[in-house]
Symmetry: C2
Subunit: 124 residues, 2 copies
DNA sequence: TTAACAATTAAACAATCTTTGAATTGTATT
DNA sequence: AATACAATTCAAAGATTGTTTAATTGTTAA
């Protein structure tokens, strides 16, 4: 309530009253940063393609590069980003590193979102 | 099947066989671009904050700027991007332009996704 | 028609990100 | 040990993007 008054007072225009609910539910800057950070990972075509691939199979870097039409260093770079976001995991087998989508609620939820957006925006 | 052989032949390493399903369901580059384009919009903290706000209320530019701690030109810039992606709509009332989330499956689906990611990654 | 305000546009700058090719590390094989 | 191959790292180039300030457009009211 103290907070409400502060924010409402800060608003240049007072139109319809902003409900307490909205102000209370407003995500913190940390939350915003965290969520946008995740979405930014999939906001790049190369990474989205790689992530989609790794949602459907486990593959080594060379094959990922071949399937995504990219060089190995470029793939490595994106794999590192995806991995440090917790969206994929890796395992070594001999000379090769195998990558796949992480077995987490986040990864599977994003996978569903991607398929859903694809269905909505590209109804083929 | 012709396609399978082509792609499998292009794979440097042949591990487990890649099923036809995967190859057939593989999104086209256009689809990848389209989906990543949408996600990129919300991959920026400023735009995510604005979009979240506009999912919960309709507001004029000045108030959006105040709530998001941004300048008017910056807000205008992001509003234009969100609008040309079809995620928000606008209407004029006197001197003011009011923006809100678009009344589409895409917008409401993304809204759900955002809240879901926030819940998973920031369990407060 | 002027004045005041809301919103957008434009240009410049800073920052970030993606890609590339060369060099390096790590692993297995001979 | 030496070789071969997979993967990563590194430095640099090129491209994209976000933010800022100033100028401009559009709308209302005096």
């Amino acid at each position: 309530m103290l907070n409400d008054e502060k924010i409402n007072a800060a608003l240049p225009h007072k139109h319809d009253e902003i409900e307490e609910k909205l102000l209370n539910d407003m995500p913190s800057d940390d939350t915003i940063r965290s969520v946008s950070g995740i979405l930014k990972q999939l906001g790049d075509p190369s990474r989205l393609k790689i992530f989609w691939l790794l949602c459907h199979c486990e593959e080594c870097v060379i094959n990922i590069a071949a399937l995504a039409n990219m060089t190995s260093p470029a793939v490595s770079h994106h794999l590192r980003l995806l991995k440090s976001s917790g969206l994929i995991t890796s395992r070594r087998e001999g000379k090769e590193m195998y990558y796949k989508a992480a077995d987490t609620e986040m990864a599977s939820s994003l996978h569903l979102t991607i398929e859903s957006i694809a269905d909505i925006s590209c109804p083929n």
